[in-house]
Amino acid sequence: MPAPDMVIIGGGPAGLAAAGEAARAGLTVTLIEQRAALGGAIFRQPSSGEVVALPRSRAAERLWRSLLAGIAQPKVKVRFSTSFLGVDGDGHVLIHDRAAQTVERLRPKAVIIACGAVERVRLRPGWDLPGVATAGGLQVMMKETGAAPRGRVLLAGSGPLLVALAAQMIRAGNPPLAVVEAGDPLSKPLAGLPLVGHPAILSEAVSYTMTLLRSRVRWLRGAHVERIERRGEVLQATVALRDGSREVIEADRIGLHDGIAENDIGLPDQAESASPIVIHAGDCREALGALGAILDGQRAGRRAAALVKNETVSMASLDKQLERARAVQRAIARLFGPVVTLPGAGELPDDTVLCRCEGRTVGDLKALLQQPGISGREVKHVGRFAMGSCQGRFCAANTTALMAELQAGGRRPEQQDLTGQRWPVRPTPIAAFVNAGPLDPAEDKEELS
């Protein structure tokens, strides 16, 4: 089987758009997706035909169909239930087919990484308890199963995703107990003006907001969840309200969400004359939402194809549209900007978990920072922060932020000091490496000659 010209990691909007664009430019593409279905988070599909899908806007439905149409051609091959393990020193792309339990080595000319965003979750005591998930995590499960999360659900943090999820839960018959929001978008409607040029986004935003406002669900703006505790089967969230008072809300599940961040841990971009070329696309490069991810995926597919074919290509029109997507994100960030001062991580109790995988706390980091000039790398290797199985995807940003807060005047540590520049490892049985197939025949010949 000949090597594909391009391997794309991730079957969400950016990956699909990149695949369609690269195939249109004449390249063969293998797109690998870790799940059993395409869609990413935003277009997460119901897990079977029996599930009644959540209603999607007509605009979203059109986008999804055009993405699928773009890859419905023989140059694009999709591999499901396959994870990306990284690029080895010889430029081989390692993938793990989880159904066959084999690791395969591919030798494409280009790799596009389109692994989407991660959610930001601010530190609060109890964020790491079972029963607490990200709001996006609750939302994708709802898209898969067609049902709202069960029991009493509290949503907290900041951003439009909380409003969307609350509206979807209301429509699905299990409204959340409350939505705790650090910002107050209703108090600054002018900040939303740039959305007027984007009717599809605006109408969806208005529809979700009206569903929330017309319901009995309390939208506690200018408030934040200070801490979460487990009392038997129940989670207790202490909410600091805008007027300075406190309220304890009991819930079965809590969804936290403090915005979206690029899932950019791992390989850096490498373009000109690299083998393979590596380009990031979509939310993992810059979190711009679904429309932005499609544009950026198209851009990456076109750019990678041009580099492979040694051609030049104009990006002017896509760049202009991406700039508009950026303006939308800035407007949303202003709308949901916090209207109250949120506590810095340094003010949290010492036993607040900072790095869940290794069970490292705020107090552990404070103790470590007693050593003057300790670097991010040392915080990782000595303190075990970002050393566990998430490899920093959920703790590196919080850890470096707290380091910056406590090490005033020093060099501001970067996330990369903790995470390094290699692709985070994924659970892969040794047997799958033992079963690794040979390189493709074309390359074997090349190595012999």
Partner: protein, 87 residues
């Protein structure tokens, strides 16, 4: 909606629907803690996108993310930290 089959989690029979992930089936069975990982910390559903590695479980001996792995008939699912080599 119909049950497609049953898998076993810590000895308990968990029904699942066609195409459902292990995490979705455990959640439907109102299981919020998926056991302990190798450092003794509680695992649970968190990000739903295979990034946080908080929902690791052991499926027929191999560690996988519960949020990514489709449930199948007869799977033996245990806590990630449980060494079931001798079982």
């Amino acid at each position: 909606m119909s049950t497609a089959g049953v898998f076993h989690f810590q000895g308990r029979a968990i029904p699942f629907r066609e195409g459902e992930t292990i995490a979705a089936a455990l959640t439907a069975a109102e299981i919020v803690c998926f056991g302990q990982d190798s450092s003794g910390r509680a695992t649970r559903y968190f990000c739903g996108i295979g990034a946080c590695q908080c929902c690791l479980v052991r499926v027929d001996g191999n560690i996988v993310e519960a949020c990514l792995t489709p449930a199948r008939e007869g799977l033996r699912v245990t806590a990630a930290g449980e060494n079931d080599a001798g079982a």
